[in-house]
């Protein structure tokens, strides 16, 4: 296997709060090859967004970060500010949930696109304009020339997200992080945006991280999935293997709690009782144990380490894993 483009080693993020330090990310390791898609799945507050911000070095100022983020042989955590700025501009790109947070409301779409392109690709104005039009056409915006003169508020939510993607792709990044890129969009638009991201990812051989709370979004589109809970990766596996035989009870519960189209109306949903632990309090044992139907005494005492299952690349953090052999627990 070739060297990964991105390797995250032992990343931990703590945020000081009035109630004490909040463990946002609790010692996470991940890696990603060029041309591959990693899905990071978890509920609000599980640390998935903080992890992506740690990769991009976009954490809040007061946050405490430890660990290494190796991108193509360089540690982003220890990079000189100027070099980091160049790298972020050219090689790392991000698409956020709400496109209005990444678009400037008082500048035209053309200005925002061309500014990025001219600054980082050293193109003259007419070449930058040509490239902007090509990019807007590539992300499926009708009449791209006219759009250049418009402002973000004149576009629908789906159009804005397409424009944000066009800006993210404008400098041919090698890694694209999409943080809940479709959560604010309607279901028909969501399908279009996910298709667009997948198409551009293949075409450009980018590495992509999709962060989402919806297992359905990553199921058909990610090569590998990492499930996060309370700041930790609790299960990680190639997508097929994960859905076929998940070992972590949290993953199973998360999947079971989603209403399915093929279930009859009024069927009670297998809900997960309770809620995630308070991240400012120290935690003994497995973070999911208080909500886990399989939890036994040991789960409340010892913190399970992430360990390998029999399938290569399948990791789980559980003392009572499910479906370890065919037919058991299924």
């Amino acid at each position: 296997m070739s060297t990964p483009l991105l390797t995250i080693e032992d990343i931990a993020v703590e945020l000081p709060t009035p109630r004490g330090n909040l463990r946002a990310v609790d010692h996470v390791d991940l890696s990603l090859q060029a041309g591959r898609t990693l899905g990071i799945v978890g509920e609000s507050g599980c640390g998935k967004t903080m992890l992506s911000r740690a990769i991009l070095q976009l954490l809040p100022k007061k946050a405490k970060l430890s660990g290494r983020v190796m991108f193509d042989g360089e540690d982003l955590v220890r990079l000189a500010p100027e070099r980091l700025r160049r790298l972020r501009a050219r090689e790392l790109a991000v698409v956020f949930q709400d496109p209005m947070t990444s678009l400037n409301p008082v500048l035209t779409i053309g200005t925002q696109l061309m500014e990025t392109i001219q600054e980082h690709l050293e193109l003259d104005a007419s070449a930058a304009r040509k490239r902007s039009i090509d990019l807007l056409a590539a992300v499926g915006i009708p009449a791209p020339e006219q759009r250049l003169g418009q402002y973000p508020h004149q576009c629908s939510g789906g159009m804005r997200q397409r424009i944000a993607i066009a800006i993210a792709l404008s400098c041919e990044p090698r890694l694209l992080i999409a943080d809940e890129p479709t959560t604010a969009l309607d279901v028909t638009i969501q399908a279009q945006i996910l298709d667009l991201l997948a198409r551009e990812q293949r075409r450009r051989h980018m590495a992509m991280i999709i962060i989402t709370h919806d297992l359905g979004v990553v199921a058909g589109r990610a090569d590998e999935v990492a499930v996060m809970y309370a700041g930790r990766v609790v299960e990680r596996a190639p997508t097929q293997a994960l859905f076929k035989r998940m070992h972590m009870p949290y993953t199973e519960a998360l999947l079971a709690a989603i209403p399915k189209l093929d279930t009859a109306p009024h069927t009670p949903l297998p809900a997960i009782s309770g809620r995630p632990p308070d991240p400012t309090r120290p935690l003994k044992g497995c973070s999911f144990a208080p909500r886990c139907r399989y939890a036994a005494g040991r789960c409340h005492e010892a913190k399970p380490e992430l360990k390998s299952a029999e399938i290569s690349g399948h990791l789980y953090a559980c003392l009572h894993p499910i479906r370890m052999t065919e037919g058991i627990g299924a």
């Binding site: 509920e43 609000s44 629908s156 939510g157 789906g158 159009m159 309607d186 279901v187 028909t188 638009i189 969501q190 399908a191 279009q192 996910l194 298709d195 709370h213 919806d214 297992l215 359905g216 979004v217 199921a219 058909g220 589109r221 997508t239 097929q240 859905f243 519960a253 998360l254 999947l255 709690a257 989603i258 209403p259 399915k260 189209l261 279930t263 009859a264 109306p265 009024h266 069927t267 009670p268 949903l269 297998p270 809900a271 997960i272 009782s273 809620r275």
Partner: protein, 323 residues
């Protein structure tokens, strides 16, 4: 047209309802002639994308937004013709649960007072009686009244706040509740808890529900029948199982195909949905879905399709319904 079987008595009968908003010198056609019925004890799911008018319809049913024309018959009485005290009395029987549970609770008031407020407004003067009813309804939604009554909303999570909102909606023993995206703001694990709670409350209090949501799977989980809305008009209405198994309207079918399935063996269908909904300020002539519809022809731009029966209990407004 009556969409219910003859033996089912409608508690709510919305008849050709039109709601419009002014926007400068333009008009937003939010709801354009929608008729639907909800039988006593039934849950009717109302689905559609943002801007399709589903929330406006829910509000117009409760007279929180007055209709331009059409009628809303609740238990035989026309709510659109009611005003003042008569409407206030009627509102004890119909309640609303909102999408954002945190924003719909006053941050400065204690939970006990928030849940008691409908009783105060309804004129329940006996404080002991009020306290008893708040206690009962908080227990019913799975909260410990002794622990929560004196606390403030910020001390609770989103899921707990939604439980409090449900308690507030139920404290007057209403017959009919409009749930407007009640679980959209909640995490998956909490969403299932709240959906189960709504089902339990419906059984316990004998409620009739209008359940508005954009998520078809969520709607199917709780609804007896489902109505699909697009740009202010009803596309299709029918029994949940039947509608999901055999959608007759191309839009219903498109919505179903666009849902991401949590199964890696199901390859996402490439770009089933094309384009975006047009503006409700200038909706397309004829069938409003025709600009995105693969089956549209000239007739669709000339003639507004009427809702007509295609199967028992299933009605579709389309010139070229799916077989």
């Amino acid at each position: 047209m009556m969409q219910l079987a003859a033996r089912e008595e409608p508690l709510l009968n919305v008849d050709n309802l039109v709601v419009e908003y002014g926007l400068g010198n333009k008009t937003v056609h939010a709801v354009s002639g929608v008729s639907l019925q909800v039988a006593r004890g039934e849950t009717l799911g109302l689905v559609g994308e943002s801007g399709c008018g589903k929330s406006t319809l829910g509000r117009a049913v409760l007279q929180l937004r007055r209709a331009k024309s059409g009628r809303v018959l609740f238990d035989g009485e026309d709510l659109t013709a009611m005003e003042g005290e008569a409407l206030r009395q009627m509102r004890r029987r119909v309640q609303l649960i909102f999408q954002d549970p945190i924003a719909s609770l006053n941050p400065r008031r204690r939970i006990g007072d928030i849940v008691a407020e409908p009783l105060v407004i309804a004129g329940v003067k006996d404080a002991v009686e009020r306290k008893r009813r708040v206690h009962d309804v908080l227990s019913a939604v799975g909260l410990d009244p002794d622990l929560v009554a004196n606390r403030l909303p910020h001390e609770f999570s989103g899921g707990q706040c939604q439980r409090i909102c449900i308690a507030r909606a139920l404290v007057l023993n209403p017959e009919f509740v409009v749930c407007d995206e009640p679980v959209s703001a909640l995490d998956v694990s909490i969403r299932a808890q709240i959906l189960n709670l709504l089902e339990a409350m419906k059984a316990r209090f004998g409620l009739t529900l209008l359940f508005i949501a954009h998520d078809l799977a969520v709607v199917k989980a709780v609804s007896d029948r489902v109505a699909v809305m697009y740009l202010g008009r009803l596309c299709e209405v029918g029994p949940s199982e039947q509608l999901f198994a055999r959608p007759a309207h191309p839009y219903t079918s498109l919505l179903l195909q666009a849902i991401p399935v949590p199964d890696p063996d199901v390859r996402p269908a490439e770009s089933v949905a094309t384009g975006e909904p047009p503006s409700p300020i200038a909706p397309p002539s004829g069938c409003r879905f025709r600009t995105r519809c693969p089956r549209a022809d000239q007739r669709c731009s000339a003639e507004i399709p009427e809702l007509r029966g295609v199967a028992p209990g299933q009605f579709v407004a389309c010139h070229h319904p799916l077989a």
